[in-house]
Amino acid sequence: MTDDAGAFDAWWGWPPPVLDPAGPYADSVTVLAWALFAMGVVVTLVVVAALYVALAGPARWKARLGGERSIWILGIAFPGVVLIGLLVWGLTLTASLTDAITGDEPRIRVTGHMWWFDVEYLDRQGRVVLRDANELHLPVGQPVVLELRSADVIHSFWVPNLSGKEDMVPGRTNLLKVQADRVGRFGGVCAEYCGGPHALMGFVTVAHGADDYRRWLTGERVATAPADPQAVPGVMPSATRRTPASATVTGLNGLNGQQVFMDSGCAACHRVEGTGANGMSGPDLTHVARRLSLGAGVLPNNRGTLIGWIADSQSIKPGNRMPTYNMLSADELEAIAIWLEQPR
């Protein structure tokens, strides 16, 4: 095989950089964060200077520092002015975070689970047109409304490049407006401790140009791969998908992957569109082949990692709800992986 062209690009944006805004709703938060850091430094310097004077300064300065005047100035006026100023400025700066929702924005429902994210793309009537997991695709330059929910405990949705944190609370839908102003991949994390492998609960946001986004959405619905998988961000590089076209159902070793998948009980938790697999307690695996990551943002997605994850996900993400399947033979694991890799 000579696929130098498919040089592997596994940077799927996780873990995310926290001070690199890519849209208006993250911009104001980042400016505020820097301002708070700066004020923190100024206040620390004032405190250290006062401490130095109190310990080693000349007697006259010490007396002045201990006087009533300095308490009025440094203890009441300075913090009062600084805190009120920062509050007013911060509220003005971040006013856009509560921008009115017009109802014209595309809506995506993201549901937190222990320990992954269910992602549903909604049409104007609120019907689910596409179900995916741990990966969010957005059009660039357009606000998108996320309906944030939780299926179990309180999680928190955070894509630092796109916005501040928003809690995912059971029994409640929180709305969060996000917008990406540049094409790219932005990592996200669960930002509220939710037990077990909480630290390994991540996801990937992929911002596409408008045309690419439309192609991505419709391409998945009609189950046709784009002509050039490299051209669309978020689609696995060709080097990672080696399945010959003829091996659509049968693994390289002659085993029927779908059969093994069903016989091993995978369908109890996972759904694969167009098959009898309709479990809803685990991530939807219909489009798993096109995701950048496995295990909720923690592993690059290729056949090797897919097989390793199925065989022993507990060694990768201890405590996650998928049992270890190390009773499956290498051939069976590969057959399942090859079957899951098929574009749907």
Binding site: F8, G304, I307
Partner: protein, 118 residues
């Protein structure tokens, strides 16, 4: 006891590296291993997480014996094996990995770099 152990080590002949190892290639190989997710199945000494148990641990890669029990242990064979093991060793339970030939050579260097034979 420690003194005794130290004495034994001191008596050993100077280490004889089996391969000419390029530190830059080793670093690139380690990067490639992390990016491709090899650690999902294999444990490596200098990769903290993950440390998958689905495949053999490579915490002390042995550059002496044959690769995967059958292939002559040459850098070329090792590079071919980490990149497309079913082709290099028919019947291998390790799948082909998304590595360019160049990356595969770096990964081979990296593996020899964690060998126990130095």
């Amino acid at each position: 006891m420690l003194v005794l152990a130290g004495g034994l080590v001191a008596c050993k002949p100077p280490p004889q590296p089996r391969h000419d190892l390029d530190p830059a290639a080793i670093a690139r190989g380690r990067e490639a291993v992390i990016k491709a997710g090899c650690a999902a199945c294999h444990a490596f000494p200098d990769i903290d997480w993950p440390k998958g148990r689905a495949g053999p641990a490579l915490t002390a890669f042995d550059g002496v014996g044959p690769i995967a029990g059958t292939l002559p242990n040459t850098p070329g064979n090792l590079a071919a094996f980490v990149r497309n093991s079913p082709a290099a060793k028919p019947g291998s339970s390790m799948p082909a990995m998304p590595l360019t030939p160049r990356e595969a050579r770096d990964v081979a260097e990296y593996l020899y770099g964690i060998a126990d034979d130095r």
